[in-house]
Amino acid sequence: MRASLQALLIAAVGFTSIQWTHQGWQDARVRLPGLQSVPSPAVAKAIAAGFDGFLADLAYIRFSTYWGYWLTHGRAFHNVASLLDLVVTLDPRLRSAYEIGSVALGDAGDIDGALRLLGRGAKASPKDSWFPFQAGMLLFLYSTRHGEAATYFERAAALPGADPAAAFFAARMHLSSDRRDLAVATWLNIWRTSSSQAVRTCAANWLKKEGQAALLREETPRR
């Protein structure tokens, strides 16, 4: 009993003094902002030994805590793109990594990084209209590359089950990138092909607003 108590006491004093000293040293260090290194995705994938999904989750939690911290502490987002690259290499179907990651990259000013990330998602799920839709949305929100945004929205609109707003956004992006003819053609196409009366009315209103009401009289909807 006495020996056990002595051992406990020695352990408590020993552990605390070592850890106390170490933590003091850590606190005194100059901390570099941001994430300084990220493991190579190819190597991590090769040695994951079947635990790819689990490791992707850990890397994703690392991303969300890291991003969340620096969002309110000076916005030092170094290597966020590399960390997300690691996450989606380990698990190409982890949807929230694309959802949150693309916004994080766009917000950090790395719009091309966000597009690359979404491009990888689109490659993994080519029939999912969300990826091109999100790419268009990010280009609209965080850049002035509206012509490129229109291309992404058109790509999204062409996929099955796409949000009806995708075609509208494509037309709006064409208009704001001074390609009025393409915008009119897109609205006319929506008016011709949509099965929703509300969507058709909206497209017709835009055409009238652009002074193209005559087109509506010439065309018959093909539904």
């Binding site: 994938k45 090769a46 040695i47 994951a48 030994a49 079947g50 635990f51 790819d52 999904g53 689990f54 992707a56 989750d57 994703y60 939690i61 969300s64 805590t65 969340g68 698990d91 179907r93 982890l94 949807r95 929230s96 990594a97 959802e99 949150i100």
Partner: protein, 254 residues
């Protein structure tokens, strides 16, 4: 039925070693992990908890299988119980089969208990465990059985520590043979390296076949033919390792 008694003794020995305390550890870690994941994993909480549960079940089954297997014969020699057993009319192959079946039963019970703990914790978090996750667990049991047989083989050849190290090494290699093969078959790779990659693919057990965690977690259907083939493949390796262990123990002076 002599192997049955040996299996029963092995099972009881594992009970005395408090192997089933691992279920409590598993539950605690899973609950803590689920709580943390809920706060930190922004949008993929359910997926993180499922991945974590399946990964822990696999790791614990493998560790228990390897540790019990690698200590199995060694402990019997140390305690000299092996002399008592082998002085009876019992073949050495039967002795090893009994050990394997005993450890296999421990793994089965442990797997079932951890699955129930997972189902309960998932239920507490507010949802039933999707049924499509469950086929992954029997395949994990088969993989753990392969490693138990491998550990028995190493246990008959070397010390438990080295046996453990070999098993862990083979686990890594077994899960990376396809990747090694892909890397070595790139254009411009020297012929010897390409041949090595091909050799690895043809000779080393490909344990990826038994690993469907990433598939089931997204609800991808698992064809029963594939599951059966994978199970048969695992059992074939198990019996091969068991046969080699029998040959090895036959040559030993015990």
């Amino acid at each position: 039925m002599r192997w049955y008694h040996l299996a029963s003794i092995t099972f009881k020995e594992a009970l005395r070693d408090r192997v089933f305390n691992l279920v409590g550890l598993f539950s605690l870690v899973l609950m803590a992990g689920a709580f943390l994941a809920g706060n930190l994993s922004a949008g993929s909480e359910a997926k993180v908890v499922r991945d974590m549960a399946l990964a822990f079940i696999q790791i614990l089954l493998l560790l228990v299988g390897i540790l019990l297997g690698s200590q199995g014969i060694h402990r019997d020699i140390e305690r000299r119980t092996i002399f008592l057993v082998l002085s009876k009319p019992i073949r050495r192959g039967e002795y090893l089969l009994g050990k394997l079946l005993g450890i296999g039963t421990v793994l089965l019970a442990l797997g079932a208990a951890m699955t129930m703990a997972f189902v309960a914790i998932h239920g507490l978090l507010g949802g039933f465990v999707p049924l499509h996750l469950l086929p992954a667990i029997p395949l994990m049991l088969v993989e753990a059985t392969v490693f138990t047989a491998m550990a028995l083989l190493f246990s008959s050849l070397t010390s438990p520590t080295l046996g453990l190290a070999y098993c862990l090494g083979l686990f890594l290699v077994g899960h990376t043979t396809s990747t090694i093969h892909t890397f070595t078959q790139q254009t411009g790779t020297p012929e010897a390296v390409r041949w090595f990659g091909e050799f690895m693919l043809r000779v080393v057990p490909n344990l990826e076949v038994l690993d469907v965690k990433n598939q089931v977690v997204y609800g991808d259907p698992l064809r029963w033919q594939d599951a059966l083939w994978a199970g048969g493949y695992g059992l074939a390796w198990t019996f091969l390792f068991l046969g080699l262990a029998t040959l090895s123990i036959l040559r030993r002076e015990v």
